[in-house]
Assembly symmetry: C2
Homo-oligomer: 200 residues x 2
């Protein structure tokens, strides 16, 4: 098997995005995170802001469930605006994978690309202390504590993932490799993955 696509799922604050970016540089592959948002926006009528907010996160548990309830009795085949965004981005993710040699962050890409046998799925996680320090350093302080910010974001990712894939987010056997970036270190994670991908 020659890996042509890497998907990275990550806990908020774990450095998964950074690892993906550095890895793409090392492998000389394309990198899709914010770049994917741009692509989806170009190929659809969705605003970038909407794609960023709703393409990977349930807005909040109650609001998300409410948006599902809204669809009962609609005449658009039961598709909400969230569903349309999911389908649009799933199609774009499939097209990008077809082109190959790319790294895709988040957005259920590991699930969407499951039929392919050239995809390598990675999950990055870390302990709360590492993630808290990291998000305060990168994104600054807010009214909410760092812990509650990261718990809230991961919870909304998990609700979104569960709704669209039927699976539990972070289920160990959905990933070929899972790394604790806090223990291993960001750079060591990049080295390890790059070496592995070059050899399998």
């Amino acid at each position: 098997m020659k890996t042509k696509v890497i998907t990275i799922s990550r806990e908020f604050g774990s450095g998964g995005r950074t690892i993906g970016k550095l890895l793409a540089k090392d492998l000389n592959w394309k990198f899709y995170d914010k770049e994917l948002v741009n692509k989806i926006s170009e190929q659809s009528n969705f605003a970038k802001d909407f794609i960023e907010k709703r393409g990977e996160y349930a807005s909040s548990k109650s609001e998300f469930l409410y948006s599902l309830l809204e669809n009962f009795g609609t005449t658009n085949g039961g598709q909400s605006i969230n569903d349309k965004l999911y389908i649009t981005q799933a199609n774009i993710i499939k097209e990008l994978a077809q082109e190959g040699h790319c790294i895709i962050v988040g957005r259920c890409a590991n699930h969407i690309l499951r039929p392919r046998d050239d995809v390598f799925n990675i999950f990055i996680h870390a302990d709360d202390e590492f993630k808290s320090q990291r998000i305060v350093r990168l994104y600054g302080e807010t009214e909410k504590t760092a812990i509650s910010r990261l718990k809230d974001k991961d919870r909304r990712r998990a609700v979104y993932y569960k709704y669209y894939t039927g699976e539990k987010w972070g289920q160990i056997d959905n990933y070929d490799l899972a790394l604790n970036s806090g223990k291993i270190g960001i750079d060591a994670c990049v080295d390890l993955i790059a070496r592995l991908i070059k050899n399998i």
Copy 2:
């Protein structure tokens, strides 16, 4: 952090034990799997056969639950023979970790050694096809299908782990590294871990 102890948790048939053994050779560390059974047997009155069968597995869901119920009303402080075995092996695992430079397979070692900061926890898993082929090759055919054999064994490991740790077996953030040995390959897993441990 200099890692002094590696714990390996593994799905049945994934090659986790083999990876541990090869890794111990590579690092020139001690390896405890069956060797741990011998040690527990030497330091207690438990027979090897009993330690192998009950030191990591619920015998079956109903039988295990029954053995718990048996303890109501006992005068030995509520400790069943299974509890005594757990406590004995937990103490031996702690002693071995204190000596350092060792690899311990299974037996809730990742949970038991959590207070230490020199432990690196690994989980090895693989897809059912890889595991099935492997267990038939290594252990031969039986009346039961390979799939049902591996599901049964992992289910009993999970029940045991849950009972003694209160946690879900295979929960991604309980491990610093999780590998799909079917996708990556046994030897590549060994190389990757050895390199990582030598560098962190």
